[in-house]
Structure formats: C-alpha cells, structure tokens
C-alpha cells in the first residue's frame, strides 16, 4: 500500500494552483484534505503524476454570511464548519449532516470543497448542496465562473469541474425563519457511507410546505433530486410522495445492500424527513 511515485507541488496561490494544473506534463490532482485521495493513491487506484497541495493557499477557508447567502470556502474543514455559529444558524442542513461524515479524525482533515469536488454519490455534502439549491464558484485558466448545484453533478465521480479547474467556494441561500430542513441516513455503522440518505429543504407555507427539494444520496451515480416526490410532498401527501419515489429512483445493488432494500429505505427516509420538515423550527 505505497502510492506509485508522484511529484508534489505546494501551490502558493490560487493562480499558482491553476498554473500548475495547466502544465502539459501529465495528469495532476489537487490535494485538499486528502481523506479520499490518499487512500486511492495508496491502493494504487489512481496514479497522478503531480499532486498540487492547496493547503498553503490563502483565502479558501472562510465561512461568511452575507447578502442572504452563506459562502463556504472550499478548504473549510468539516470540523471548522461543525463548530461554526454561522453554519449552525444559516446552514442548519449542513450542521445536521456533518456529524454523520466519517469520524472525528476524518473531519479534522477533510474539507467541504474536497468532498463536493470528489462527488462520491454516497456522500452527505453533495446531497446537502443539491437540496439547498446552492452554487459553486470555480476558477480555471479561463477565469472564474459559477455553476448551480443542479448542473454540477454529472455522473459517477463526474462533475462540471474541468481538468484545469479549482473549486474555490460553495454558496447556499441563508436559512430564514421560513426555512425547513431535514436529514436522515441509514449506514451500517456510524460514520460509514450511507446505504441510503436524504437531505431535504423546504419553505414553510401556511400549514404546508413549498419549494420542497429532496436530494437522495447512496441510491445512484450522483446525488439525486426526487422531483416527483417533491411535488407530492408540497401537496402535503407523504404517502403519495413515498409512492412517487418509484419514478424518481432506481437504485442498483452494491456491496452493502440490494437495490430493493435501498428503494424501501428511501421511502422510510422520506417519512422520517417529511416529519422533520413539517415540525416547527425551534
């Protein structure tokens, strides 16, 4: 379990990182918290020629609530977000999800940007970003751009990030008194990737809900919006929403679970999360 030989460069700035990425001498990978990347290198599942370390780049680790949004730098570590008052107040869905991510040692090193850019379909944060209708700031050699979460996750470990792009921040709408969030997952052991999980966000609208966004993880190649169920839930029909999942999700078997069990668990999650959404925010 030793990685194949690679070169290492510590980026001095964002521009430097982009410049290093653009070098034509072979595949380069960005190193953020390393919690997924180092394992794949050691298992020789990937063998990049160059690792570009983002840990020395300034300005990527801020959390700021402004203009009705929360901006989270890509290098913010899970533990930092867990302890952030702004996250607790303005991004309660992320606060709910964080304790489920790995273990304390992993959360000490792992970054939010790294998790989202890696886009493991069973990971919590990509689904949260999708449920919150967030957006992503990306810098590349052609300049900066912003991509909506709905357009970011393209396929299995495939995102809108190009080979020369760096994810610099994510932005989500700040929670208001009308915001309702819910989160639940089923994992065999605490801290494991979930067999199935659900991150949800909605607006309280009278006695009901509007703008319901349900993002499942662990049930497909990407985090998946369950749009039929969203519509049913907005109409107040929980059981109808559970039925509608049949048209939204088609999970396949994996090493921990059959697709049939995942599909069943998606319904159980929906009932539990719908209850959270409908409860008044404390």
């Amino acid at each position: 379990m030793k990685p194949a030989p690679f070169a290492y460069a510590k980026a001095r700035s964002l521009d430097h990182a982009i410049e290093l990425l653009a070098r034509p001498d072979g595949e380069a990978r960005l190193l953020a918290g390393g919690q997924s990347l180092m394992a794949t290198l050691n298992m020789r599942l990937s063998a990049p020629k160059l690792l570009i370390d983002l840990n020395g780049v300034k300005g990527l680790d801020g959390i700021a609530a402004k203009d009705g949004a929360v901006e989270i730098g890509a290098m913010v570590r899970h533990v930092q977000a867990e302890r952030s008052a702004d996250i607790a107040r303005y991004a309660p869905l992320i606060a709910l999800a964080l304790p489920h991510i790995g273990h304390a040692a992993i959360r000490n090193r792992g970054t939010l940007g790294g998790s989202i850019a890696f886009a493991d379909p069973a990971a919590e944060l990509p689904a949260c970003l999708l449920a919150l209708g967030g957006e992503l700031d990306i810098a590349g050699h052609k300049g900066k751009r912003t991509v909506k979460a709905d357009d970011f996750f393209k396929g299995l470990f495939e995102t809108a990030l190009g080979p020369n792009d760096v994810l610099t921040a994510i932005r989500i709408p700040a929670a208001t008194t009308e915001t309702r969030v819910g989160f639940a997952e089923f994992a065999r052991r605490h801290g494991d990737y979930a067999i199935a999980g659900l991150a949800a966000c909605a607006k309280a609208s009278g006695a009901g809900l509007s703008d319901v966004r349900l993002a499942y993880f662990g049930v497909g190649n990407t985090p998946i919006r369950a749009k039929n169920a969203e519509a049913a839930l907005a109409g107040g029909d929980i059981e109808g929403a559970v039925k509608a999942l049949g048209g939204d999700l088609d999970p396949q078997d994996d090493v921990q679970s059959t697709g049939a069990a995942k599909k069943h668990l998606a319904g159980v999650l929906l009932r539990r999360v719908a209850k959270q959404l409908m409860e008044a925010r404390p």
Binding site: M1, K2, P3, A4, P5, M43, R44, F186, R188, R189, H190, G191, D192, Y193, I195, V255, Q256, S257, T258, A260, A261, K263, H264, L265, V268, R271
Partner: protein
C-alpha cells in the same frame, strides 16, 4: 502499582500472603505500550535489510503461462526478482494434514505458486528491493501471462462430478469428512412430539488484527543461523517449520517474538508469503522484511467459518430433547492450512454441537471442501460460535414450538452441575461444569422477568425488542489430543524458568507469548505469588526460542491455564531452593520459613528473617561463607501439561437484548450479558476484557462481518471501508459475571477465557432478533450476518 479492582479468589490453596491471584493487577507492559515504546516487527530495522513485495494472482484459478521479470530487475532499488520455481530450490513445499483427522487430505503448497495460482491473492513472484515502495513499483513491471482456469467457488457443487477438481492428484475436492453417530437418533426423533428443522448459514470472515502479519528474516551465513523476528502466537512451532522446510537443524533457527498487535488465531499458521520471506533471506544472505498491508491481509490472512448446516432437533412436549442431527458443509481454500489443517473447525462443530445438554442421540456429518478462495483455518473460538448458534437456535425454535420459556427448556436439558464428570453427545469429556448455576446467575443479573415485562409493554407501542440466549461450552487448556497426537510438532506442554537475580528480584522465562491479551501480566502474577515477591520485582521474558523453555505459545486459551501453572510451579520450586540457601545461612530448617513480599520470614509468626537481596548477595558473591558441600540453586524450571483431561472445558451463558427497527431492518443492540466459568480467575479485569472483546467479535459475525466473493472467486470487499468490523458506536454495554469451578488438573485451577465471548455472542444475537420479530410472523433469520436487507426480507418488506 495501583490495584484497580479486588475480587479475591475463594481458593485457600492459592491464598498465599501477598497473593496476586484473583486481583486486577495492571499489566506490567502497559507503560511500554501506552508510551509508544513497544517493539513490533514493523519497528525492527537491521543493517542491509531489504523489503519484499509480492506479485499476487488476480485470478482465482489460473495457469501461469509465462513470467518475465526483466523490466522489474532493472527498476530503481531492486535487489532480486524471484519466481516460485526459483524459490522452490531453497524451501520445500508442505502438506497440511494431521493423522488423527482420518482421511484428511491436501496437496503440496509452495511458498510462491510454481505453475498455477489457486486463489486470487496467492503470491506468484517476489520482488525484493531497498524499500517497500520500490518493491511495489517494480511488482507492476513483472509481466505475467495467465491462462484462466475454471474456479471452484460454490461449496454446494464442489463435489459434483461436473465440477473441476482443483488438485487432480488427490482425486476430488473433498478435504475431510467426518460422520459421528451416538445413541439412537432415529428412535429419538420418533419419540419426539415436535421436530424442528432449519438451515443455518455462517458467513466467511476473518480476524482483523491491528498489526498485520509481519516478519523479518535474517540469515547469517557466518554462523549458519536464521534469526526470524515474527509476530506469531507460536514461536517454537515456527522454529520447527522454518528449520524443516529450509532443511536446517532446529538449533540453526531462532524465532524472536516481541510485541504483537493482536492475533485472534490469525498468527498461528504457516503463511506462504512468510515462508517465502525466510527463504529469500537465505537465498540473498541478508535480512528481508515483509509486512502485509491491509489489502493483502484481506486476501491472505486466514479466513474462517463459512459453514452451511442443515440441523434438526426432536423435543417432547415436556421440553425433553430427544435427538439432534447436523449436516455441515464448509468451503475452505485450495489448500488445507499447515500445520493445523483446515479440517479442525468442522471437526469442532461436530464435537461441540449439543454439548451442554444431556440428550445423547446425535447424528452428525461434516464435509470440508476445497475452493478457489483464500485459505481457511482456525480463528478465535474455532467452531464454537457455529455449534453454539445451531444448538441454541434449535433449542429456542423448539421452545417456541412447544410453548415453553427459553430458559426453562434449557433448565430441563442441561447437564446437572453435580452430574460431572460427564460427556457430551459427541463423546467429549467434561471434568466439571456449572451450567445451571451460570444460568441462574444470568437470570438474576439481567432481571429476565423484568425485561420480558418491558418487552411485552413496548410491543403494544409498536416497538419490537428481543431477548436471546446462548448456553455454551468452550475448549481450553488443550492437551496433546489437539495436535500432538496427529503428528504436528506443536507443543501441548509449556515450561517456565525462574531465576533469582543478584538483588532479590526474579526473572521468569516462559514458553507462552503475549499478543496483547495480558499473558505477561498473568505469568507475573502467578510467579510473584508462588515465589513470594511483589509484582514489580518480576520480569517476564517471552517470545525467544533461544531463551525460553520449549512451549506451545498462545492459542486455544492455553496461556494462563498451562503457562500460568508452569510459572506457578517454577516459582514454588525456586522458593524451596531459596529457602534452602536461607536455611543454611541462618542455620534454620527451610520448612520453618516462607518467602513473603520479597523477604524470608518465619512460617508461623511471619517475622522477618533475612531479605532476598541478602540471600542473593551471599549466594552469588560470598558462597565461600556457605557450609562446605552446599550448592545454592537459584534457578528452577517446571513444566506442565494437562494429563487427566484432553481439554479443560469451560462453560457459560450469554444473553442479548436488542431492538429491531421494523421499518428499516436495522438492529440496535441494547445490552449484552455473559456469565462464564473459567475456573480460577487469575486477573478479573483481563478475563472480563477477554469476554468483552470476544463478544464484540461474535457480534461482528452476527451483524457485520463477511468476506464476500463473487462466482469467479474475487473477494468483493477486501478493505476496511467495505468489510465491516464491529465498532464502538454500535456495541452494547456488556456485563460479565463469573461462576468459579476450578480444574483439579492443576494446582492453580485456571481454565481459559479467550473464546467464551466469541462462542456465545452470535447465537444470542440471532435468537434475540428472532424473538423480536416473532410476533410479526417473520421467518426465522439463520443466515449470518443479519444485514438490514435480510431483516427486511424476513419481514416481507422487500
């Protein structure tokens, strides 16, 4: 030294002044381990040491058509690229058979596959380089062409005529078969009012050690000696095997075992890659190190279990069991593992099934078949969890069928506490067991009646909790009946040598070994007590075949019961020798004196006569002052082996209390209890740690762990993310209780405690899950591990 918890032994024979028997003495090695100053094999670095990495077969079964190491040989840092055929010049192959397992057969296994790889993960080529990283880089440059062969991966069809025979030279894929019939099972089933029949399945799993297997072999041509630093449970066994297969005399091999980061039975076998490492050192005339990484551990560390058992019980309406029947099929690897064989677990299942109960009408068949999967051998509690879960599963199903409480049906069938010596349905002999007292202790400890009432109340609220039991017996303190009679050079006896140093402290050299379980502490307690010094004046030396008495090491829960007794007796013998010296100094009769707390005292009054330091000073530096003709003997050796009984069986009972989320199929463990009887408890804390750790591994089997293989023989989850070891968050609180029935075979009276937790936990959890789901009409779950998927299917939800 702080003593955390006192639980003085009730045994007066051991109740010497300053006795450490029955006390939770902290481990002497704790400081070293906690300060990071332990020395594991990974820490061993020698001058000119090279590292080996192996090219491993990606196929479950393949002919090696060609191999080209030319590119690898030119890679940076590479010292040698060695094929199986080249290494076979240095080390001979082996065959894992024992003569007392009649008919057991296997094929010769080489250190590195020669023409054919028989499982995915078998080494086909070794690359030795300056560093492990360079060796791994060069492994990728070795060109191997394989011709894939059909893989045998389903035990159920392994013996079919259409299935390829893995080793044509031995005729078929049957490694071992045992049939045992006792009493009159047919009549027994005829006499039954109810017969319950079920199939139980036990997943293949493995023991995941914190420290992987590791070895440094150092051939010194100057003195024609091989020194092997190895994380092993049995240094003398390995000395014998290295010598035999390198064609050296045994005294040319020294095995040194320092700290070991967990074994669980994993490190008591012959591993091809470790044999290859030793051979490479001899070939290259320099030290070679191999440390298995986690990925290769999963496909080379022995796997265990993987049993499918059709089982049947007959029972009368009054609860009397009338007959048992089992048919066990287990799929091992392509070779029977050397030297303990891969037939022992199935053999144990036949031995142990029905063991706690009086019904002697028993029919059993066990078949062990070869598979193109990783090798299988003995892992903690060999066969016990299988036999226990089958027996206890059948009993609880029978209890339901006749409408009897699960504890009551046991009470009506367990061998009475005063009926010993006795025997089990397989003919195994029990010296003295305490099934009924253990059950009664558990009943009150867990407040069984109260839990039943709570369960009933919660069911009305739609909360489904279950209570499950598992009565068990445990094989410990094995005599030569285990391996010696079968021709394996594995010592059943063990020795201890105790030496007084020149200041009055003692050194104890023992043949048993420390794996992290606390054997060092237990040996120190025994010898400190029997000789008569404080614990801090005892130094225990273990794990060095040049410097310890010949012994078996640590396995089958033998270290405390056998090694402890040898140390106890050696301490006593040295006490007599030292008192003889003191007597000659003081002109007193030795029998009127004793050694207590490091001082020679008057036996009757306890009055101090002379310090040990003074005795040592005179004996070592002024022997001229001793009477003419008197020779002080300040070193004593004693050996011990159980003779009266083949095994010191222990017994106990476990209970699991859990809740099943019937929507999700997830099981939440609420509480676990174990009452066991390991005879004299030398160190209560270490015994309870063994029980709890064992329970956790048993829970792993019940709920989490399984080596998943596809039909082509590829392991699908060989990493720590996908192979689920039980972790703290999911574990229940565990309460331990003890009943003490010492063995009369030794003065100490201690039996083993290492297997008890693992033996009972899977059956208890299984029974609790089925108890929880019974009101919902779910089909009994008997296919471990019980994943949410399987629970949902049993509930008809998917």
């Amino acid at each position: 030294m702080k003593i955390a918890e006192d639980n003085p032994s009730t045994l007066s024979a051991l109740d010497r002044p300053n006795s450490y028997i029955g006390r939770s003495v902290p481990r002497p090695n704790m400081g070293r381990l906690l300060q990071g100053r332990a020395q594991y094999v990974s820490d061993v670095t020698l001058p000119r040491m090279a590292h080996v990495a192996f090219v491993r077969s990606p196929h479950a079964h393949a002919r090696i058509s060609s191999m080209d190491g030319a590119l690898a040989k030119k890679a940076p840092g590479v010292i040698a690229v060695v094929t199986g055929a080249e290494l076979a010049e240095v080390i001979t192959p082996w065959v894992g058979v024992l003569t007392h397992l009649k008919g057991l057969k296997s094929a010769p296994q080489h250190a590195i596959a020669v023409e054919r790889a028989c499982w995915a993960g078998e080494a086909v080529c070794a690359v030795v380089a300056r560093t492990r990283a360079e060796a791994e880089d060069a492994c990728e440059l070795v060109q191997v062409d394989y011709e894939e062969l059909p893989a045998v991966t389903d035990p159920e069809t392994a013996l079919d005529s259409g299935t390829r025979v893995i080793h044509p030279e031995i005729g078929d894929n049957l490694c071992f078969e045992r049939v045992h019939i006792a009493g009159d099972p047919d009549q027994g089933f005829k006499n039954a009012d109810a017969v319950v029949e079920h199939t139980f399945v036990f997943g293949r799993h493995t023991g995941v050690c914190n420290e992987p297997r590791a070895i440094v072999a150092d051939w010194n041509p100057g003195e024609a000696r091989m020194t092997v630093y190895q994380g092993t449970q049995a240094p003398h066994m390995m000395q014998n095997l290295f010598a035999k297969h390198l064609e050296l005399a045994e005294h040319q091999v020294r095995v040194v075992t320092k700290d070991v980061g967990g074994s669980f039975g994993i490190k008591v076998h012959t591993y091809a890659d470790e044999m290859a490492t030793v051979a490479l050192s001899k070939l290259l005339k320099r030290p070679v190190k191999f440390v298995a990484d986690r990925i290769e551990s999963f496909v080379t560390d022995i796997h265990a279990r993987d049993h499918r058992i059709h089982a049947k019980i007959g029972v009368k309406n009054d609860g009397t069991i009338t007959a048992w029947e089992i048919d066990d099929l287990t799929g091992i690897g392509p070779y029977s593992v050397y030297p303990r064989t891969s037939g022992i677990e199935a053999n144990q299942v036949v031995n142990l099934t029905g063991g706690p109960y009086t019904c002697g009408n028993y029919r059993a068949r066990a078949r062990v078949v070869f598979q193109n999967k990783n090798v299988m051998c003995q892992y903690r509690a060999v066969g016990h969890p299988i036999a226990t879960a089958v027996t206890e599963g059948l009993i609880e199903m029978a209890a339901v069928k006749i409408g009897m409480d699960p504890l009551e049906i046991r009470r009506r069938n367990l061998i009475a506490d005063d009926a010993h010596p006795s025997q089990g349905p397989s003919g195994i002999k029990f010296e003295a067991l305490s099934h009924h007292s253990s059950l009664a202790h558990l009943d009150s400890m867990m407040n069984y009646a109260g839990l039943r009432a709570e369960q009933e109340k919660l069911r009305k609220q739609g909360i489904y909790r279950g209570i499950g039991f598992a009565q068990f017996i445990e094989v410990t303190n094995p005599s030569a009946a285990f391996y010696g009679v079968g021709g394996a050079k594995i010592s059943a006896q063990d020795g201890a040598t105790v030496r007084l140093d020149a200041t009055g402290a003692i050194f104890c050299h023992t043949g048993v070994s420390e794996q992290g379980q606390g054997a060092e502490a237990v040996i120190a307690q025994c010898v400190a007590t029997s000789f008569g010094v404080p614990m801090d004046r005892v130094r225990v030396i273990m794990g060095d075949t040049d410097n310890t008495p010949y012994g078996g090491g640590t396995w089958a829960s033998r270290a405390a019961g056998i090694g402890g007794e040898a140390a106890w007796q050696a301490g006593k013998a040295l006490r007599q020798n030292v008192l003889a010296v003191a007597g000659s100094i003081l002109q007193a009769k030795p029998e009127t004196m004793d050694i207590r707390n490091g001082v020679v005292v008057d036996l009757d009054t306890g009055k101090e006569r002379i310090g040990l330091d003074e005795v040592a000073r005179i004996a070592y530096f002024r022997p001229d002052t001793l009477p003419p003709g008197f020779q002080a003997e300040l070193m004593a050796t004693r050996h011990y082996v159980p003779r009266a009984w083949a095994f010191a069986f222990t017994n106990g009972i476990q209970a699991s209390y859990l809740e099943v989320d019937t929507d999700s199929g997830f099981v939440k463990l609420l509480k676990h209890w174990c009452v066991e009887d390991c005879g004299t408890v030398i160190n209560p804390q270490l015994v309870d740690e063994q029980i709890r750790g064992g329970i956790v591994q048993g829970i792993g089997a019940a709920l989490f762990e399984q080596c998943l293989y596809d039909s082509r023989g590829q392991m699908l989850n060989g990493n720590m993310a996908d192979y689920l070891v039980p972790m703290a968050m999911e574990m229940p609180d565990m309460e331990c209780g003890h009943v003490v029935t010492p063995t009369a075979d030794s003065e100490l009276g201690a039996k083993g405690a290492g297997e008890a937790g693992t033996a009972g936990a899977p059956g208890a959890v299984m029974n609790a899950i089925n108890d929880a789901l019974r009101p919902l009409g779910a089909k009994p779950l008997t296919d471990m591990p019980f994943t949410p998927d399987k629970v949902l299917r049993a509930l008809g939800k998917i």
